[in-house]
């Protein structure tokens, strides 16, 4: 009986393996195909796109780009605006989250536990819960069409504080901090020159995620930025759906491709770290 079972299981193992690879390859294709069609169609003329599906690039890259740029779509401006907002908000998010995490780990203060609980609770507040009040407040401050309300709120990034705290608890030894104190360094100096370098791996991971989240954000910029010259790339994407490009399919695909090209570059350069970061985010014990 044991023997029969074993030979049976070898057959079923090969069968299983085939099923596993087929399913995985189909899912992988499902991930690639929409973007592949997008990039290919960006190089095809409207007539070609209308005549059917193709997976081989065509020759109309230049025409599509020219048509795209001749109307209100300005990808360079959008790229620059998105880069400004995402860049500065990433810096704010990782620096101040590290500082807050250090305050939670290195010092023994009365409100420490309460403060940490508040941070955990704040993580759950949906952006829409404060959106109307936030908009009205910025309207009264004349801060609409300004990048500051999209950058400064990232100083309080609870999820990053949570992650940084876990990291510091595992890696920071108070002896280093003590040694720095004996050498006469101030607390702020110690944080910047001794603790920050220790945190570089955690900062790098969190910076990638903070940057991508800010880069992809649509809701807040859409509410706050009404001037065309201030649009970020995700808002510009909505222009592609409007009437101005109604029949210029190639240009629509071109515009879509341009908005995500930087992300593809970042992703394929850093995918190892990104995947590792996602895995770490889930194991919160």
């Amino acid at each position: 009986m044991a023997k029969k079972n074993r030979s049976g299981s070898t057959v079923s193992l090969t069968l299983n393996k085939t099923v596993v690879y087929v399913v995985c390859i189909v899912l992988a294709l499902l991930s690639i195909l929409p973007f592949w069609i997008m990039f290919v169609n960006a190089t095809r003329s409207t007539e070609e796109i209308q005549s059917g599906l193709s997976l081989i690039p065509s020759m109309h890259f230049k025409t599509n780009l020219d048509v795209l740029l001749s109307k209100s779509f300005d990808p360079l401006k959008g790229f620059f605006n998105s880069l400004m907002i995402s860049g500065f908000s990433t810096i704010c998010a990782v620096y101040f989250s590290s500082l807050t995490a250090y305050a939670l780990v290195a010092y023994n203060w009365k409100m420490r536990q309460a403060f940490f609980t508040v941070i955990m609770l704040v993580m759950m507040i949906p952006a829409q819960a404060s959106a109307i009040g936030f908009y009205k407040m910025m309207y009264q401050l004349h801060w609409t069409n300004n990048f500051l309300p999209l950058i400064l709120p990232s100083i309080a990034a609870p999820a990053i504080v949570f992650f940084m705290r876990q990291y510091l608890l595992a890696t920071l030894s108070m002896e280093i901090v003590e040694a720095s104190r004996i050498d006469g360094a101030g607390e702020f100096y110690t944080f910047n020159r001794i603790v920050m370098p220790i945190m570089v791996p955690a900062i790098a991971t969190q910076a990638i995620f903070a940057f991508v989240a800010s880069w992809n954000n649509l809701f807040m910029p859409l509410i706050l930025l009404t001037e065309k010259s201030k649009y970020t790339l995700p808002i510009m994407v909505s222009l592609l759906k409007g009437d101005i490009y109604k029949t210029e399919f190639g240009s629509i695909y071109m515009g879509l491709s341009l908005t995500v090209l930087p992300l593809f570059v970042i992703y394929f350069l850093l995918s190892r770290y990104i995947i590792a970061g996602v895995a770490l985010g889930g194991v919160k014990e």
């Binding site: 596993v20 690879y21 995985c24 899912l27 992988a28 499902l30 991930s31 929409p34 973007f35 997008m38 796109i49 209308q50 005549s51 059917g52 500082l99 807050t100 250090y102 305050a103 290195a106 010092y107 023994n108 203060w109 409100m111 403060f115 704040v122 759950m124 949906p126 829409q128 404060s130 959106a131 109307i132 009040g133 936030f134 009205k136 407040m137 400064l152 709120p153 100083i155 309080a156 504080v161 607390e187 649509l218 809701f219 859409l222 995700p234 994407v237 909505s238 592609l240 908005t259 995500v260 970042i266 190892r272 995947i275 895995a279 770490l280 985010g281 889930g282 194991v283 919160k284 014990e285």
Partner: protein, 322 residues
């Protein structure tokens, strides 16, 4: 050798001050302000004197009992979330079972993870417009593809059909997130004590038995975490329905966030109603978050109690030994 004690605790307060200030100014105050607006008659683009309503709960009552769109938006949000979450969890679990199976030894796992996770990092707005173009009618990539395979004989206007449109939004959401859930679950499996798997296979358990009896129970906390974060994320679903079909056709993909945006920033600028809707959404999120805290804390406490009991037993045994 004892140095004079310096009290460093003030730096704890000082270093968490930026966080606290940013939170109070950009998050706490706006939430309160939104709540207040929900009780007023604030509307229109031009600022006018704002009054608290004679019956303060009128906006809430109106939304919950008289506004069909709002109720549709709540049920759409729930429906789209369920349609995305069930296959998302199913696929993530299946792939986790395969990728962590010691006997299958799936090759190219790194590449598969990179590809399956990829849609998650791409701008949701772009994905929404891209899918809108892919499903376009009468000539679009999906229509051509289906015709080539012979699945359809004439072009189908997918985006005019309410069920199909809702299904596509749920599919996009599934497609963007199952890779993420899978990676989290695989990391969870890596964290399980390998001795458990060894013991099970020595006892003659099959691959599926090991998965259902050992792996799944150990993943409960992580699955719960995914469930709640996904619910709160799903509650806020905005980019995809907004740019895919602006909530249409006939409100079929109108989610709560799209409703709030539409009330406040389109047409009549009903800030009060949008604020009231935000607060209802906030209440739902708060209940869900409370549930998460309750379930997580309970488990931790139970574990601590258990560890304590074992320690006591060991201490007693040791005492007896002496």
């Amino acid at each position: 050798m004892r140095r004079k004690g310096i009290n460093y605790s003030k730096f704890g307060y000082l270093f968490s001050l930026p966080f606290l200030l940013a939170f109070l100014v950009f998050s706490f105050y706006p939430v309160l302000y939104t709540a207040v607006i929900g009780f007023t008659d604030m509307k229109g683009v031009i600022p006018k004197p704002v009054h608290i309503l004679d019956h303060p709960f009128d906006n809430f009552k109106y939304l919950l009992f008289d506004n069909v769109s709002f109720r549709t938006s709540l049920s759409n949000t729930a429906l789209i979330w369920i349609l995305n979450f069930i296959p998302q969890m199913a696929f993530a679990l299946l792939l986790t079972a395969w990728f962590t199976n010691q006997r299958l030894k799936v090759r190219g796992q790194g590449a598969f993870k990179v590809l399956l996770y990829m849609p998650n990092i791409i701008t949701a707005s772009t994905i929404a417009v891209l899918f809108n173009s892919l499903f376009s009618y009468p000539m679009g990539p999906i229509n051509s593809l289906f015709e080539t395979f012979g699945w359809i004989h004439e072009p189908v206007n997918f985006l005019q059909d309410k069920t199909t449109a809702r299904g596509i939004v749920a599919f996009i959401q599934f497609w963007m997130w199952y890779g993420n859930t899978m990676i989290i679950l695989i990391a969870g499996v890596m964290g399980i004590n390998p001795a458990l798997f060894e013991a099970a296979s020595i006892d003659g358990a099959s691959g599926w038995q090991i998965f259902f009896r050992v792996t799944l129970p150990s993943l409960r906390t992580i699955m719960l975490y995914t469930l709640i974060t996904s619910t709160i994320g799903g509650l806020q679903l905005f980019d995809i329905p907004q740019l895919f079909l602006y909530g249409g056709p006939d409100d079929a993909t109108l989610t709560t966030s799209v409703f709030i945006y539409g009330q406040a920033f389109k047409g009549s600028y009903m800030f009060n109603r949008a604020a009231a809707a935000s607060m209802i959404m906030f209440a739902i999120a708060a209940v869900l978050a409370g549930l998460l805290f309750y379930l997580m804390r309970d488990r931790d406490a139970a574990r601590a109690r258990k560890a304590n009991r074992i320690r006591n037993k060991a201490a007693k045994a040791a005492a007896r030994g002496v």
